[in-house]
Symmetry: C2
Subunit: 161 residues, 2 copies
Amino acid sequence: EQNVVSGIAYSRDEAKVTLVKVPDRPGIAASIFGPLARSGVNVDMIVQNIGADGMTDMTFSLGKDEIAKATAALEGEKAAIGWTDIVIDDTVAKVSVVGIGMRSHAGVASKMFNALAADGVNIKVITTSEIKVSVLIDRRYLELAVRSLHAAFGLEQEPAA
Amino acid sequence: EQNVVSGIAYSRDEAKVTLVKVPDRPGIAASIFGPLARSGVNVDMIVQNIGADGMTDMTFSLGKDEIAKATAALEGEKAAIGWTDIVIDDTVAKVSVVGIGMRSHAGVASKMFNALAADGVNIKVITTSEIKVSVLIDRRYLELAVRSLHAAFGLEQEPAA
Ligand SMILES: C[C@@H](O)[C@H](N)C(=O)O
Ligand SMILES: C[C@@H](O)[C@H](N)C(=O)O
């Protein structure tokens, strides 16, 4: 089918919070996002991969200006959630390739990941949706990554303001 | 703001493939999805959380009828990709809560995760997009999970065919 990549979306001032080694059993995800929701934290990506030895990591992304609110929300929840460590990284940017009618994400993902690899940009986190493949990368590579992705997908880039 | 959850989407016959402990350096994601794209594998979710000790896990989901094509595509790529193990799980279903105008995913995620927790359903993988929070769960809990999510979000459920 025709894969139409319509654009590159990005957000510069992102951060990620990872709760390292939380128990991988029912109720834990709820115990993390309940407090975040109640504190009005603006959570964007939520990423959980499969676990090992009954544990897994939980990562969420948010604007870097939300970090204080997120850590305040999670303070005092360590016993309820049971994380081993909490890693806060405010050095990331989010970049997404937006496509309409992607039957499979493999083609768009492969082209996106190749462009980033060619720049030597490490991909820290990946999530997908029907219309997007999104990654978190080191913020200092954002402009380079966005230029390379426009070129890889044959898109005109808006001139910088 | 008003969170409008418009529906629950689900896909019963899903599978996940996890490449365990791949090197977390530029080019690895490209080396995984290049072969999958060339073989025409219909990849849905791609999930990568942050790494540790220079390694991370890469998981992708696909229809269970695509597993043979995916494993064939990756055969012979072990040296190039460098995974420690490959875990294939054809017992999962995908469930998503679809919402319009979710400014933060925390509220919808928290309600979804609480509903699944109340059923004792373990959440194996989580990804998000602007309009969806998606999870992979054990397929045998799919009907229970879909009913509980309709109830939690006050949605009418279509009668089963
Ligand atoms: C880790 C977390 O997602 C857990 N599996 C739960 O169901 O809540
Ligand atoms: C693990 C994989 O995503 C790696 N970090 C890469 O950039 O290709």
